[in-house]
Symmetry: C2
Subunit: 749 residues, 2 copies
């Protein structure tokens, strides 16, 4: 490769000499590249990055210093007119428009049927999101409104947010941390003396101990089953399938074209922004497990340090007698010196591919469960001291990196009632907190295991163990002071297990109710998800009443196993992790697109477990405009460097040739779908981030060109319009409006 | 994904439930994985990693503390019997043997012809390596010896190395640095009063100014052309082609089988070694360019710091008047704050694919050559002060990492006679030195450019500018004191440019001699390489006479362009960089295998320029046993993290599912093919690293299992034996031994 740096000019001349088409072998990719280049060479003429653009750019920005640590107010004042100025370039980007009668290439009747189904499905999701106080994509909501008798209730409308919160933004994050968030034990709210009781697997709340029931919207099982059946019928409906497939293809090629025509402009826009680049935009790792958030080298060093520092500390009880760390290692015939990443043996290797069981046993350092017990558990003889320390080291690194944030998963198993308190005590005692970190609670779907172990007699017990403490602490925070403080930083629930495990049972009206679920088999995925959803919904309404923040459902979904997991995910959860199987379910993929459901993908993790890297659908999803982000899942097993999230981005960029603009879009998505507060998000993405379209984007913070945001928004509107338009046209002819959002699908039966 | 860490046991039971074959879609890969797993499950029974193995392992190693910083002598004493003990396991690994008459699956006559050609080719390489005092693979040499009248002269025989040097190892590295290597100006050797004159493009040396010529082996152009033609005829010979292709296929599948049978044992062996793992084995980045060895973020930070610290320093002359750093930026309408990685715009993006020219202009920060001039050049108004500083920052990081080492490329262009002195003065003045760093000199093939610019009238001038100073400093070190000191740390030459540029000229006897090369066209690749080789050979003999270290040729070769570049590489150079095109030249690939020619590959760089990542041949080369290593080439453009080399390894491991053993083998190769001293290598790889087979391996330092080394060695011996055996058998029948290593190919004409 030519490293003689003076010569680039001459080489530029010699371009025709070394033109691409002179290369012998041309892979499709390379041919594509060529075409792209030719096109660009023409386009780039008028948008080439010239000094005078730079000059304008500078004049534009010199007065507004947009360093992230700028006071909030200042930007507040300048943002609007900044937006005006910004609008100009977007007006003139290259748009792709389709003209003609049948815009979508299918006969009107097919379009109409499909449209009805899609709208139906969106209404279903909207209903359940509303019921549980989770968010529903506002643009879709706006388009749906005309068919709804209910008034438009957009989650997070401006009025919901006190104007102050906007201005509060900057001061809120980083918090004025004169007092540690775990310290204000005194100003914990008081008891409101409600009582709680679980009925048919759903918690019910009563004013004063078990008298009159509180009027909270309780989900209706029968209705849910009905809706689920509608969805199931809908996703296998042939014509709808081919319609959605067509649209997804269309979205892919439209994006391809958009890139060919506007890539240079997007690049130029990014360059115009002073100071900001991919390295200093906010990123959230929206799917990562606390017990494996450190990389192997880190864990190894930590273990060695622990053995040096406190070899004589009692760390473990075996047969009634305490064992010191030294004794533990002696029992394994090991010294600190012996340890290496190889002996640790926690890295996923080729043999974990499609071997979830094997993969899981990888969680034992040196294949010794005892070391895991000692070092990466919150609930052990030393009360998770070591684990707390190592997590805090990870937090310190994150804070140093400043722009990388994580949402760590901690486990609640539902085996006993005190799990929450123990977990909260661990967090509070060891002060495991960081402004860069929020918590998610993962509930493993392992009822069958506890049941066979005689730890649980029926499924309702599990639900009670999981939710009762949450209701108690919401009713009377002082009853679980640590839990109340800890909960402040918990954003939601995750549901985890090997989805590829076969399910013996189909969830329907004949399914036993939780208290009657006493059989050997594990309840199916949808059963778990529904009851977590139901209890969370009630809890959220109670918490809203009390002015506490609400929680969301963000399960692992569609990593493997049957497609219908993705149906439950679509109906009940705000975001999902993985969603690999959407690539095999066009209808659902299209719905996930229209509803902009967040999908946290972890290609490196998939690569080791379920799907080789180059076959991962992420680049396809991204091109179609699904709301995807990159997450690490499990740095301990999959990552090598000290910056796992950057490593994940780097590999994706390299293997899939993502542009800097794609990367920044992924990062922006990760913040949008994260559980960080509205204030924090307005601070990271711009004060208007909840608005629609390019208005929501502040390139000075996100480094995402408005062109890209505008393209996404306009494309989405066309898509939603195509569908609603069809129904509208049809509506004019038919009388019974009813049939519109009632049983589009029943009608087809 | 299941994160419930207690449950691995239960899951292990549920293995049959979630067995891989229950998955709907099976890609070939996945099917392979399955077969692999079944096989392994059987095998692993008898080699499973049990505590008692660990116990033995520990007992074995506790007495020998093999921390890298252990004194050398101690290991010296224990290594032998350690080796004995180590031998045991290898005896019992699963071997693949072929029985039957025609072992190689081709009729004897074809085998014989092919064998003769291959041996012929190897003799040619051996000749040129000997002539230039570069190294030739000793095992191949041993097998060839019986057909050679010349006595076996193995490069680097034990006798060549003073016994002391072994024991010196530890003390040599890190050097007893009481004095900085650039400080001992006084003990520079004295003049021996030879004179040098270039004749027909090759430097000749005379005792005392221009009297009788010194008796040094001068390469013979005619012989070289003849040999080259032999090689050219040989690589396009049909039967030989299919023979080599067959053997390469055989090597692939044999390795595949070896892995299926021994992967678990290799893993166990790695685990047995205390302390050592992939992170703490020595790695050398054998192909990286000094001017882009820092990543973008680093360069950006450095520029910003410079603008903060010394805005008023004069850094540049434009039209006779000095410009301060501030003025330079003002002239670009930029402030430090404006700068971002995007504005820097030095990252290779999709548009550099197959666009070498474009790629090269990427070397201008903000597309402004002036910034490059100021910050990443050694020879500018501030005498490369900034560049020196940033390189030293990179060096500091490397020393901190301890295990990562690099061989940085610096440019000598051959436009003027003082380039060497300027470069050396830069290094010495700014003390640019590190024990983790060695230098290579890259010579861009740009005669045509200088010629059109009237800077050079003929090609010989360029050669004189490059080599005269080296001869002068070798004859009389005091004539160029800095160069003498700098040269101590230079290991060889690299030849660089865009290989895909079409070549107007074929190198043959009619080609004009260097002093007559005055035409517009650039001399072809082979012409450049031959004359660099020829002069380097003479220089090496002179340097050997004086007791100075010798240099090697390690050009960019086979990155793109015509295959015959790889022929020149095979004949003249000790190592090459890239070698991508070997995938299209079976004969050459087979020869590069048999001669174990080092190939430094940079898949990320290729991915941006010439070949998509997933199509890169590295994993294939590795499986066949070619001597490949991983290098970054150009972190500034291709890498995101602070540890580019680790990033390169990480991505390779992830995308190609390399095992820890593969990774360690790549790392060991990188050290073997690097230019670090014999002492350093013995210290990094083990005192016997130059021996053959597993004896050469010290797993306690390389973390490469002896099984792997033994497999490679035995496979190589079988291969070499197959070939020599054929000739031997044939020899018994025929009388004229002559025809053996004479004109195997002529015979076919």
């Amino acid at each position: 490769m030519l490293m003689h740096l003076d010569m680039f000019k001459i080489l530029a001349e010699s371009e025709m000499r070394s033109a691409p088409y002179e290369f012998p072998e041309d892979s499709p990719i390379e041919q594509l590249e060529e075409r792209r280049q030719r096109l660009e060479r023409q386009i780039s003429q008028d948008v080439k990055f010239e000094p005078d653009i730079l000059l304008r750019a500078k004049q534009e920005f010199m007065k507004t210093d947009s360093a992230t640590d700028l006071e909030y107010m200042k930007e507040q004042s300048q943002a609007p007119d900044f937006q005006e100025r910004e609008l100009v370039p977007e007006k003139e980007y290259q748009r792709v428009t389709i003209s003609g009668e049948e815009k979508c290439g299918v006969p009107f009747t097919d379009l109409l049927d499909a449209a009805k189904c899609v709208v139906k499905a969106l209404f279903i999701r909207q209903k359940y999101m509303g019921l549980s106080l989770q968010s529903f994509y506002r643009t879709a909501a706006r388009f749906l409104q005309e068919f709804s008798e209910r008034p438009l209730d957009l989650e997070l409308c401006e009025e919901d947010i006190p104007e102050t919160s906007f201005t509060a933004g900057a001061t809120v994050h980083p918090p004025a941390s004169k007092t540690h968030p775990y310290d204000n034990q005194d100003d914990i709210p008081s008891d409101i003396g409600y009582g709680c009781k679980m009925v048919n697997g759903v918690m019910h709340v009563y004013t004063s101990r078990a008298s009159t029931e509180l009027d909270l919207p309780y989900p209706d099982l029968q209705e849910y089953i009905a809706d689920m059946n509608v969805m199931m019928a809908l996703i296998i409906n042939g014509p709808v399938k081919s319609f959605c497939y067509r649209r997804l293809q269309y979205l892919s090629s439209k994006f391809q074209m958009h890139i060919l025509l506007n890539e240079m402009k997007e690049l130029a826009a990014q360059k115009q922004v002073p100071h900001r680049d991919f390295y200093n935009i906010r990123k959230v790792d929206t799917h990562i497990h606390a017990s494996s958030c450190m990389n192997q080298k880190h864990l190894l060093r930590f273990i060695k340090r622990a053995m040096k520092k406190c070899p004589t500390e009692i760390v473990h009880m075996s047969r009634g007698k305490g064992q010191t760390l030294m004794e533990v290692f002696e029992s394994m015939h090991l010294t600190a010196f012996d340890l290496s990443v190889d002996t640790l043996d926690m890295h996923a290797d080729r043999n974990t591919f499609h071997r979830f069981d094997k993969f899981n046993s990888k969680y034992n350092p040196i294949g010794e469960s005892i070391l895991r017990e000692i070092f990466i558990k919150t609930d052990n003889y030393i009360e998770g001291k070591y684990f707390g320390h190592i997590i805090k080291e990870v937090m310190a690194d994150l804070e140093e990196s400043k722009y990388q944030n994580v949402e760590l998963r901690l486990s609640i198993y539902g085996r006993s009632r005190d799990e929450w308190d123990k977990l909260a005590k661990w967090a509070v005692k060891h002060r495991v907190y960081s402004t860069n970190v929020r918590w998610l609670i993962q509930v493993p779907r392992l009822f069958d295991v506890y049941h066979t172990k005689r730890q649980l007699s029926n499924f309702q017990e599990m639900l009670e163990n999981i939710f009762m403490p949450l209701f108690e602490v919401t009713v009377d925070p002082r009853s679980h002071p640590e839990l109340h403080l800890f909960l402040e930083h918990v954003v939601g629930f995750d549901s985890v297990d090997d989805e590829s495990k076969p399910e013996q049972h189909i969830f329907n009206l004949d399914s036993p109710l939780p208290e009657n679920w006493t059989e050997e088999d594990n309840p199916p995925y949808s059963y778990y998800l529904y009851y977590m959803f139901a209890n969370m919904s009630v809890l959220n309404h109670l918490r809203k009443q009390r002015g506490f923040h609400t929680l969301v459902l963000r399960p692992h979904c569609g990593e493997a196993g049957p497609i219908h997991h993705l149906v439950s995910g679509f109906m009940l959860s705000e975001n999902i992790s993985h969603g690999l199987l959407l690539r095999k379910a066009p209808v659902l993929q299209y719905l996930y697109y229209l509803a902009q459901i967040g999908i946290a993908m972890s290609p490196l993790s998939n690569n080791s477990l379920f799907l080789s890297y180059h076959r991962n659908p992420l680049p396809e999803y991204l091109s179609r405009g699904l709301m995807v982000s990159l997450s690490t899942d499990d740095p301990l097993q999959f990552h090598f460097t000290k910056e796992p999230l950057m490593e994940e981005y780097s590999i994706a960029a390299q293997v899939w040739k993502l542009s800097s603009c794609d990367m920044c879009e992924l990062a922006r998505n990760s913040v949008l779908m994260s559980g960080f507060s509205h204030q924090v998000k307005s601070y990271w993405l711009g004060p208007k981030y909840i608005k629609e379209g390019q208005e929501s984007n502040d390139i000075r913070r996100t480094n995402v060109p408005n062109i890209r945001v505008a393209y996404r928004f306009e494309t989405m509107c066309e898509e939603l319009n195509l569908i609603t338009q069809a129904i509208r046209t049809d509506a004019l002819e038919t009388i019974e409006e009813e049939s519109l959002y009632m049983g589009a699908v029943h009608g087809r039966k």
